[in-house]
Symmetry: C2
Subunit: 211 residues, 2 copies
Amino acid sequence: MTKSVAVAEAPEARPYHHGDLRRALILAAERVLEREGPQALSLRAVAREAGVSPAAPYHHFKDKSDLLTAIAEAGFDALGDTIKAAVAVDSEAKMSTMGVAYVRFARDNPALYRVMYDVSRNADGMPDKTHDGEGGGFRMVEQAMIRAGVDPGDDLNLKLWCISAWCSAHGIAEMVGFAQFQPMIEELGGEDRFVEELLGRICHAPSMDTH
Amino acid sequence: MTKSVAVAEAPEARPYHHGDLRRALILAAERVLEREGPQALSLRAVAREAGVSPAAPYHHFKDKSDLLTAIAEAGFDALGDTIKAAVAVDSEAKMSTMGVAYVRFARDNPALYRVMYDVSRNADGMPDKTHDGEGGGFRMVEQAMIRAGVDPGDDLNLKLWCISAWCSAHGIAEMVGFAQFQPMIEELGGEDRFVEELLGRICHAPSMDTH
DNA sequence: TGTACATCAGTGAACGCGCGTTCACTGATGTAC
DNA sequence: TGTACATCAGTGAACGCGCGTTCACTGATGTAC
């Protein structure tokens, strides 16, 4: 509910001050990405999509790369939420459930996923929140690994298993779309099954503790 | 040895006709990538680096994307050669040897590696030569898998193991550089050891045939 | 409750830049006779 | 062996474009008194 004004304006007229342009810009960026892909993600395009002038974003972000960082961070948050939701449904919270959810997110938001890792590469890593944060993705993987039988006391081993799983999921996410794999995907009855098969060859409880 | 000309030119004067500009452009692109990164890889920059006018490349490539495709293909060839060389040294031709060589290539040529996969994503897959070709990378992985104990008769299973390994190597290659992992890398005594640890958790003979 | 004023968050025009691509051209090469 | 000519592989100027960023500005908001 906004304050009423003395003179009625055109119904959709945005007030001069936006209210939460920072957030609006990030949402606009996601729409641009989905609609036009990562190449089209310019600061100007985002401003255009949000309905503001090209100079407006500079009141909320230092420069373009600062905006990209925020977009990537929002993406990693969304990824974490997706995995969380998948785990909530699967009572056993299996690694493969999480892996499939991970890859699905990447496949459903390919351009955003691309930006997330492009930014990470430039920033020498993913957001700290994702890696170390309490509700972050890595923590969830850790817990699933422990449930799968990895000794939680051996910290180095546990971490290596998590990183190994995450890297695999990332590699799969980037490559499932390759045309060469499509016949096999059909044979297996869909992308999710294909991903399960790949993940199954990577994370399988029996050998996890033998290292 | 070039034909001598009646009037002596400045020593480095390139003849009007280049001879093999197509190849020279690809090499120039690799230099640009190494020196300035993937963002700087414009058609004009490549022409500049090769010492020709911006219009010259159009006699050898349909457009920019055609040039990029050729660069990526050359990159995949070089990757294949690197793996081949590593296998030649290691008499057992272990998976981990190949994996480490793969990741080393990606780390030594980060910008080229990026372009290789960017192009692959746009082209819906890596070059056929790499995937299906006789001396291509996938074939080498196949053979190593067979040596490691995967039943060569079960074609689907064999292929899934190869894809799984390749995806993992790719994921690792993209993420080893992340700052979060650096302490662990030091602890393990270097990047190659870290990569070996990760790969060891992914490809380990005992369970390969149990599927 | 009103008023003066600082601050915030927009505008829109302008800047210089490098890009991909096209064009009419020209120099060099190779082939037919 | 020489010459005419088609073809090939370059040049360099020009095009229009969208970009990131800056600037002086202005409208709206909130605070002090």
